[in-house]
């Protein structure tokens, strides 16, 4: 599904990602954890084709081409877009993707039915769909809107950038439930998170720790617990001691 070798990315003359190797197969859930500023969002963005990073080791593809090929990014900070309703834009997005896959455009009825089903999945108020994208939404509503869009677009590779951050426990449970429901054998998922708590709801197959632009250690779900208990400084100490390669 996704295989990256020695990925580097820099912006403003600064190297942010400094050689990342990552292989994610269909059906797997990979958690990527790391302290603030370690490069988690940058990794998510370059995988989605964001400019203007200087990137090596990735195919040159525009963001929309990646999206149509099946990459979905749930933004850490979803953008507010005045004047464009979620319904309108999502219909255009879905049909662009369907066209790319050689499918017919959905008619209005089928599209509405799809919206109804997927809003239920994340317990989202359907009224929000006719409002401008994310404008005036609460933090929780914005994150739900991301997972809702993911459900509608049905990606092959879902990248969730701190979808859990800033959520109260109820919203977290709803969002995590939505993501877990969308887990299937064809879909690969990268869960970027700063906290271990999301992983109580979604059990990852692998956990990677990103530190200063590199994946410094990988393991199973128990690695997340260890991180939670010992903090990121534990990684730092191990790095300094030279025990992590």
């Amino acid at each position: 599904m996704l295989e990256i070798r020695n990925l580097h990315a820099s912006a403003a003359e600064r190297e942010i990602l400094r050689g990342i190797d990552l292989t994610v197969n269909a059906g797997e859930v990979h958690a990527i954890m790391g302290p603030n500023g370690s490069g988690k969002s940058t990794l998510a963005h370059v995988l989605s084709g964001r400019e203007p990073y200087e990137v090596t080791a990735l195919l040159e593809m525009a963001p929309e081409e990646r999206a149509r090929a099946g990459i979905f990014l749930a933004f850490q900070y979803p953008v507010e877009i005045p004047g464009v309703s979620t319904t309108y834009f999502l219909k255009a997005a879905l049909n662009a993707t369907r066209k790319h896959r050689g499918l017919e455009e959905l008619d209005a009825m089928d599209f509405l039915a799809l919206l109804k089903e997927k809003t239920a999945l994340v317990e989202m108020d359907q009224g929000l769909l006719n409002r401008p994208i994310n404008e005036g939404f609460s933090g929780g509503e914005k994150k739900r809107n991301e997972i809702f869009q993911m459900a509608v677009l049905d990606p092959k590779l879902a990248i969730l950038d701190e979808t859990d951050s800033g959520l109260d426990i109820d919203a977290l449970r709803i969002v995590a439930h939505g993501v877990d429901q969308l887990r299937n054998k064809d879909r690969a998922t990268i869960l970027i998170t700063h906290y271990q708590r999301l992983l109580n709801y979604i059990i990852p197959d692998y956990v990677h720790v990103l530190f200063d632009g590199r994946i410094v250690t990988s393991g199973g779900k128990e690695l997340a617990h260890e991180l939670e208990q010992r903090g990121y400084s534990w990684i730092e100490e191990r790095l300094q001691a030279g025990s992590v390669s």
Binding site: G49, P63, E64, R66, F72, G83, F89, L90, L153
Partner: protein
């Protein structure tokens, strides 16, 4: 002799030829007015960029063309050509003017409440001077605006709308100005007079389209006199081609507790200058001036607005938005004058501009002159580009770059479009904008 002086003499000489015609046509009583106006023009001549009000707009491209006054050509437009512009179908009540002259054949007015007049000004000048004379040219000042002076001197036709007291007209009244051409550069002087008596309500749409006209000049003036407690919705749609010159003044005087909404939409033209002036002349008046200008190529679009708060407790809201592509030069100048008696004035002005190219420019200037302390006035102006984060967000969902750009640009415009209350106008404009923006964003 400079080009400007030569042009001034040319127009004055033309007036000597025109005045016999004006007298012959029966509106002879207007002669003193016309004479005063042309004398004023003879004194001031065309403005230059040394003129504060014309600082960023040179009228040289207009001045150097030898326009001929447009003749009435009632058969010059076939209804089919008109229908293709889509403009004909906006409203049941429509007065159509071809090159500034009323066309009875193309016009149609449904049944209106008794006492309401919706007719050609040329006819009213002759048949109904008592209804026209108290208002005509009493509000749009020809003293300090050369083009208003020329319009006042040369006006021949336009719409006369009079709504008597306590009369509500739901159906919009569409004044449609169509320009054709027989290869010559012509000038027309549309003149509209809209008098709404107290407690009445009306919606007026003024649109300018071309059916094959090229290189012509429209020099228009519309006067609106709003009585006490009246409600007026005015919408101007300018959608001529990239060779047209268009200079127009909308002058409104608002009585006590009246409500005036103006939308000025500029989608075409080579050189456009719109003046919208509102005099809040009674306590508790409320006015909204909105505008949207979309420019491509090498167009020059100048919007000047002026709101005079003369009396207490008046509210004014102003939102002008511009979308500028190519090498367009745009100007926004918004003046708000708060008189010494206008306590509790509440005025808010906003001008936002979206630049789609490196070469498009905008000169935007708010001008507040406040002679009372007990007021709330604010203004803001911005110049920006499409938000990169929003673009990436849309693209990351699968929308193509062009589609995403068009969608965000449309969203920028929709803040103005959505405020238009006349549904068919809003819908028609929506379609036009969507098509235009798709084209612009593909380039």
């Amino acid at each position: 002799m400079t080009e400007l002086e030569e042009a001034r003499e040319r127009y004055c000489a033309d007036f000597e030829r025109f005045k016999q015609k004006a007298a012959r046509n029966g509106g002879g009583w207007t002669y003193p007015l016309r004479k005063t106006a042309i004398s004023r023009f003879a004194e001031v001549g065309f403005p230059t960029t040394r003129d504060e009000e014309w600082k960023y707009t040179s009228v040289a491209p207009i001045v150097k063309v030898r326009f001929r006054r447009a003749d009435p050509r009632p058969n010059g437009v076939v209804p089919r050509a008109l229908a293709q512009t889509g403009a004909g179908e906006l409203a049941k009540n429509r007065l159509v003017f071809v090159n500034g002259h009323y066309s009875e054949r193309l016009s149609s007015v449904g049944s209106l409440p008794g006492g309401v007049k919706v007719e050609s000004l040329a006819a009213a000048l002759v048949n109904d001077p008592a209804a026209v004379e108290p208002y005509l040219a009493r509000h749009a000042s020809y003293q300090d605006h050369a083009f208003v002076a020329l319009n006042t001197a040369f006006m021949e036709d336009g719409a006369f709308v009079h709504v008597p007291k306590g009369c509500v007209i739901d159906e919009p009244i569409h004044l449609l100005f169509v320009s054709t051409s027989n290869g010559e550069a012509t000038v027309s002087y549309p003149r509209n007079l809209i008098v709404i008596d107290s407690d009445s309500q009306v919606k007026i749409v003024e649109s300018y389209v071309e059916v094959g006209g090229r290189g012509y000049l429209t020099n228009g003036v519309t006067e609106v006199i709003a009585g006490e407690n009246s409600v007026i919705d005015h919408c101007k749609l300018e959608r001529e081609n990239e060779t047209a010159f268009h200079v127009a003044t909308l002058q409104a005087r608002l009585g006590r507790s009246s409500n005036f909404v103006s939308h000025s939409i500029t989608l075409g033209g080579a050189l456009i200058r719109n003046d919208v002036n509102v005099m809040l002349d009674g306590e508790g008046g409320d006015c909204t001036l909105n505008g949207l200008y979309l420019g491509t190529g090498e167009r020059h679009i100048d919007n000047h607005t002026r709101i005079d708060h003369m009396k207490p407790h008046c509210v004014s809201r102003e939102l002008y938005k511009g979308i500028l592509d190519g090498k367009v030069k745009a100007v926004f100048n918004g003046k708000i004058v708060v008189g010494k008696d206008a306590r509790k004035t509440d005025a808010k002005q906003t001008n936002r501009n979206l630049l789609l190219s490196e070469e498009a420019t905008i000169d935007t200037k708010p001008q507040l002159e406040i002679f009372n302390n007990d007021v709330k006035c604010s203004h803001a102006s911005t110049i920006g580009r499409l938000d990169e984060n929003a673009l990436f967000y849309l693209r990351s969902r699968g929308l193509g770059l062009e589609t995403a750009r068009a969608l965000l640009t449309y969203a920028f415009a929709s803040e103005v479009v959505n405020q238009i209350k006349i549904a068919p106008v809003r819908a028609g404009l929506d379609d036009l904008l969507t098509a235009r923006l798709q084209k612009i964003c593909q380039a």
